[in-house]
């Protein structure tokens, strides 16, 4: 049972990290608290599920799904997040308006998705990656993929941030957007690339979630909620913090589902959030950006 709890916990941690990566990365770089990141990933996963149901090739379905998520991510960034931030004068007030504006998107997405896809629940028909036995525990291929994806994305992000010119530019924009503009960095493009990367991660998270569990209309709001809970507990904008919290939360939820089960998983998550906020109000790995 301990091995089962451990592996289910790790795979949950992987998915949660992928979803919270979008939130954390967008907030860390641009300071935009984009709550629409969950529905953005969900739209791509719904498109993938629909195409797979209509017997399209897996590669085509995944490419089309990720493309939809990216386009939607860019559209939200360009037509909602940036106008909201700029029209309210930027700064803390701008961020709060972005937060509430993207709250609005959480209300808009579910009925539109329901009308387009005509289904509240969808299952992804991706081909199986096999099952592997570890002692008495059977682990699915997608669960292992979720763990590997999260670790790979964390390593790649660290490598990009520390070893490449793009990473240096992103760090410059994070620390001082105005000064970065003055020295010729295209801040708008950096924000756009950030939105694209976040959308892709949200899509991967949603697809893995859909394959391991199932996709529902309410999943978008749940992804956002979990993404933000992890981001806040880890310290807003801190990828390392998000990784640690995803790990703790994944294991805690897995242990809860094996021992108590049912709706108590969500109750435990909220209790953990409240405890972390009481003990470490700025998160486990606090960053400099605060609202």
């Amino acid at each position: 049972m301990i091995t089962a709890i451990l592996f289910k916990g790790l795979s949950l941690a992987g998915i949660y990290f992928l979803i919270s990566f979008g939130v954390t990365f967008l907030y860390g770089v641009g300071g935009f608290p984009n709550l629409a990141i969950g529905p953005i990933g969900l739209v791509g996963a719904y498109v993938t599920a629909t195409l797979l149901r209509d017997n399209f090739a897996v590669v085509t379905a995944l490419s089309a799904g990720s493309f939809c998520s990216v386009i939607l991510g860019i559209a939200v960034q360009k037509f909602v997040v940036e106008p909201l931030y700029n029209s309210t004068g930027g700064g803390d007030r701008g961020r709060i308006f972005v937060l509430y504006g993207t709250f609005g998107l959480l209300l808009i997405f579910p009925p539109i998705l329901l009308n387009i896809f005509r289904s509240t629940m969808m299952t992804l028909g991706l081909p199986t990656l096999g099952f592997y036995k570890l002692g008495s525990t059977v682990i699915g291929g997608y669960e292992i993929l979720a763990i590997l994806s999260a670790v790979c994305i964390l390593i790649i992000t660290h490598w990009v941030f520390t070893k490449t010119v793009y990473g240096t530019r992103v760090r410059a924009v994070t620390q001082h957007p105005l000064l970065s503009t003055a020295i010729g960095i295209n801040v708008g493009r950096i924000y756009l690339i950030t939105a694209v990367v976040s959308s892709i991660c949200a899509f991967i998270g949603a697809v893995l979630w859909g394959q391991i569990f199932s996709l529902e209309l309410s999943s978008g709001a749940s992804f956002t909620l979990y993404g933000f809970i992890i981001a806040v507990m880890g310290g807003l904008g801190s990828l390392n913090g998000a990784f640690i919290v995803s790990l703790v939360l994944g294991l805690a939820l897995s242990a809860t589902s094996y021992t108590i089960g049912g709706v108590y998983e969500y109750i435990i998550t909220t209790i953990l959030l409240i405890l972390v906020l009481i003990i470490k109000p700025k998160g486990i790995v606090p960053t400099r950006r605060e609202v």
Binding site: Y27, P33, V80, P83, L84, S87, T88, D92, R95, I96, F97, L99, Y100, G101, F103, G104, L105, L106, L107, I108, P110, P111, I112, L114, A221, L225, F228, I229, A231, V232, L236, G262, V263, Y264, Y266, I267, T269, T270, L273, I274, L277, I278, P281, K282, E290, V291
Partner: protein, 326 residues
Amino acid sequence: MYRGGKLTFAWRILLSLILTFLYFAPLFSGNFTLFVIAVLLINTVWASATWGLFHQAGQSLFAVAVIAGAGGYFSALLQNVFPNSWFAMAIALFLCCGIGIFCYLLMKRVPGHIQFAVLNLALIFVFGYLLIAFTNVTGGIDGIELNYFYPDSFFGNISARYLVVLTLCLLSLFVIHRIMISRFGKIITLIGRNPSLAASVGIDTDKYLMKAYLIFTPLMGLGGILYSHFIGHISPETWNADLSLMIVFCTLIGGSSTIIGPTIGAIIATGIPILFDVSAEFRFAIVGVIAILIFVFMPEGLTDGIKRMILNKFESKVSSSSDDLI
């Protein structure tokens, strides 16, 4: 609105007309219209109480669904102990104060608006799950049947229930309005705008904020209690994140400088979907679209935005006429 501390003549006439319409509505309106007006009034109370805490006192508390839902459930559960629903309602209101203190203690500890917004969302979700987890107490997804207002024989009629909701909602709005124009209201507005300045002039900010929570959270709870007794049923599906977000949007859409803002916001958020016969699934989505458009084009909200536009027009007229003189 006010001149020399008194309502202007035009406002008195307008308010009298509105009150006359609302009190005589049962004579010429059907049950559906009365239901819509009652829901609109309850939304206005939620929006105004949220406005008081959120915009004036600067507290990012928008978990209206939790406080209002808790109020409704407390009242529903207490009806087993007190057959007279008025007692149950009074005790439920008192218990809502406890939730207010809990929220205040959380708010005091949490550092920023985003963190508290996430905490609000988490509380809303966990409230729903708690209601389902304790099915034997809360009735689970099916909910609980409530008595109408006591005595049931009289308030079984929707017109009578409507008049109770109308009177209590108007009373709540009057209380919120009087509080916000009182010295206490001015102090909590100052704390909301600039807590450091308020503390520097000797105001005990903690004491005043706690009082603000103790005033506004029971009013949110009252909305939930009235709603539950009005329809005679309470279930978890009503008290979700959509409701809370809609109430916050009411305050942001209408504007935040006076209580008229959240009132207009509530009228728009409740009225437009009904006016355009929007299907139930798109009701909240329409509010979301309106909110985003207003945030982008009129971030200060409708009332303040229109006031600014009129002032700008007036100023440009004055400056052009003074240019002519020169």
